[in-house]
């Protein structure tokens, strides 16, 4: 077949080099791995071969930066909103009409979104991908419950398996469901995973948003915000629960857990003094006392405009943190601080994370300032004459970072 390259001892060769629309899928897939999802989407319209290739799992890992995807936190919307975290380009509205029911965002899961059905009082989960217009319900929980904590464990990059953990929640009446359930994608079913301490069930039900971080130590962590922040951790393999203190707990106005690129648990927080900080949990399992180590501080010059305040400002330039939230990417190379959709964003990025050889030797004691950088990302321009001034811009949103995929893994 013209354009197909066959190899082997006989060294059979094609007569001509292929044209663009005939390039072998593995090569074309490699080109596509460098494309951000919007460019890839336009490229796959070019011809059918390119469409087929864009939809086939390629040999190369995606190399584009993650996108921030946001959905209204408390209301339903027929759109979700996504933007390249590199800050180029604007927010794009992705229709959600392919989903049979209104959804709320729970967590990123590889290139997919774990969502819950907005209309259901008990937790009902679904997977969806607004970039490829795919939706699939997960089976119902074994024990129905409301507002449990949800944790996600993604399998290694070679397989696309994952687990969803559901802990706590309130059962019918006013009792707490002090049990854990686990959904394993390889089995396609929930399994009861035993009881859990009631105290943790209460904390996880009442005071926990559903963001969780699966750290390299095999534990899943949730941030609970009962008066002062603290962290609840579950060692998944041993089903062991514990609580961790949080640095500057009584001074933090907001805090979020992230995964660091070295697998450690990270914490990003904004304190009452107006400074933003990133900590890393060290020492566990390394023969030392476990403690939080300060890893990074938001540079002065980026503060005060929309986030926090500068400590040296004598004028009333203090904006405060307001509704600042922070999300981290699954691989830990990117954190985004944001408020509302239309507002400016602060992005923390690990240097070299966009290059191939990024995982080179960083010893446990490094992670110094010059391996990461903070950047400012402009909010989207608001048209001052627009009468609607789109309410979505000021609506509280929940957002996650993910690497969008145009493939169709939910088809089956």
């Amino acid at each position: 077949m013209k354009g197909e390259i066959i190899r082997g001892e006989a060294m059979a060769v094609p007569l001509l080099l292929p044209l663009w629309e005939e390039l072998p899928m593995d090569v074309l897939g490699r080109v596509f791995s460098f494309l951000p999802p919007d460019s890839l989407a336009r490229a796959m319209c070019a011809c059918r071969h390119w469409l087929a290739c864009a939809r086939t799992p390629g040999p190369a890992a995606p190399r584009h930066s993650p996108w921030l995807l946001a959905m209204p936190a408390r209301s339903s919307s027929s759109f979700c909103y996504a933007r390249d975290s590199a800050g180029l380009g604007r927010w794009r509205a992705l229709p959600l009409d392919f989903a049979p029911e209104p959804l709320r965002l729970v967590a990123p899961l590889g290139g997919l979104l774990l969502c819950k059905l907005a209309s259901s009082p008990t937790l009902r989960l679904a997977l969806c991908n607004p970039f490829a217009r795919q939706f699939r319900r997960l089976p119902d929980l074994l024990t129905p419950r409301s507002n449990p904590a949800v944790g996600v464990v993604v399998g290694s990059s070679s397989d696309s398996s994952f687990r969803v953990l559901v802990a706590g929640g309130s059962a019918s009446g006013s009792s707490y469901e002090a049990t854990l359930e686990v959904f394993d994608s390889r089995e396609g079913a929930w399994r009861a995973a035993g009881p859990m301490p009631l105290e943790f069930a209460v904390r996880l039900t009442v005071w926990t948003p559903s963001e969780s971080v699966h750290a390299g130590d095999g534990a899943v962590y949730w941030m609970t915000s009962a008066r002062a922040y603290s962290v609840v951790g579950l060692d998944v393999a041993r089903r062991a629960w514990r609580e961790l203190k949080v640095p500057m707990a009584d001074q933090l106005e907001w805090a979020a857990l992230v995964r660091r690129s070295n697998g450690r648990l990270g914490l990003v927080g904004g304190a009452a003094d107006g400074r933003g900080r990133v900590w890393e949990l060290v020492g566990k399992g390394e023969g030392e006392r476990e403690q939080w180590r300060l890893a990074s501080v938001v540079p002065e010059e980026l503060l005060g405009r929309s986030f926090g305040s500068t400590s040296t400002s004598t004028s009333t330039a203090r904006t405060g943190w307001g509704s600042t939230r922070c999300v981290g990417s699954e691989a830990g190379e990117l954190y985004v601080l944001f408020r509302e959709l239309g507002a400016d964003m602060l992005v923390w990025r690990e240097k070299g994370s966009d290059r191939l050889s990024s995982s080179s030797s960083s010893s446990s004691s490094s992670s110094s300032e010059d391996c990461c950088e903070w950047n400012w990302v402009e909010g989207s321009c608001r048209d001052p004459h627009s009468s609607s001034s789109s309410s979505i811009i000021n609506t509280p949103v929940k957002a996650v970072l993910l690497r969008p995929t145009l493939m169709r893994p939910l088809d089956s």
């Binding site: 044209l19 059918r48 794009r92 191939l356």
Partner: protein
């Protein structure tokens, strides 16, 4: 007067160019001569060593001979339009395809690549030659993947070379080079060309992509409409308002 200067300048430029060609030809001829004399010297050295080491243990003399056999071995690669390129075997090993051929012993009389033109092969060979000087072969990662091992100045040199190599290429040449690097299995060059193509795709509309890359739209209209609807979010710069 002015036009005379222009003509003079033009003709001297032409002369320089042709003498450059001549110089280039002469220097490559000289290179080939050098390689021949070195080969001759090596073999005569080997003979002398053979005579000297009669009393030395057999294994060590065998080892010495092996060493000398590895010096200055080259492979000749010919394009489909008859252009020949002679490379050190160490350089040629940057192409996994050539490496296998050499290991199988089928490259001794030279290799002809029926789908690679001289223009493209020249680019590939210059890539292999330049990267041979900087990359470590046999690391298992192949050429072009050893960036972590270099000093910063070496790293800059590598990136500048790569950038200059692909900078001027039109899409047809870029495609040919991409396909050739895939065919010849030159990992670093394949990555470089793939990334360059991706850069050219970024930000373009579908129609612009088709025009730039001369791609035939083979969608039946209903199917095209379906796909465009699916990716409607990517088609325009929609603001939130």
């Amino acid at each position: 007067m002015a036009s005379q200067d222009c003509e003079a300048a033009a003709s001297s430029r032409a002369a320089a160019a042709s003498s450059q060609d001549c110089e280039a030809a002469a220097s490559s001829r000289a290179e080939k001569e050098e390689q021949k004399t070195v080969r001759v010297a090596a073999s005569s050295r080997a003979k002398k060593k053979e005579q000297k080491t009669v009393r030395v243990a057999a294994s060590s003399s065998r080892a010495e001979k092996e060493e000398q056999k590895e010096e200055r071995r080259t492979v000749r690669v010919t394009s489909n339009d008859g252009e020949e390129f002679e490379m050190d075997e160490a350089v040629a090993r940057g192409s996994v395809m050539l490496r296998h051929m050499m290991e199988l012993g089928i490259a001794l009389d030279g290799v002809t690549l029926p789908i690679v033109s001289g223009e493209i092969l020249a680019l590939a060979v210059s890539y292999l030659r330049f990267h041979r000087d900087y990359d470590d072969g046999g690391s298992g990662y192949g050429y072009g993947y050893s960036y972590g091992y270099h000093s910063e100045s070496e790293d800059t040199a590598l990136t500048n070379f790569d950038r200059d190599l692909v900078k001027q290429l039109d899409q047809a040449t870029l495609l040919d080079l991409l396909a050739a690097s895939n065919y010849m299995e030159i990992e670093g060059l394949l990555r470089l060309t793939c990334q360059t193509v991706a850069e050219k795709l970024k930000g373009k509309t579908t129609e612009e992509i088709r025009q730039t890359f001369c791609i035939q739209n083979d969608y039946p209209p209903e199917e095209e409409e379906e796909v465009r609807e699916e990716i409607s979010w990517a088609l325009e710069e929609k603001s939130l308002d």
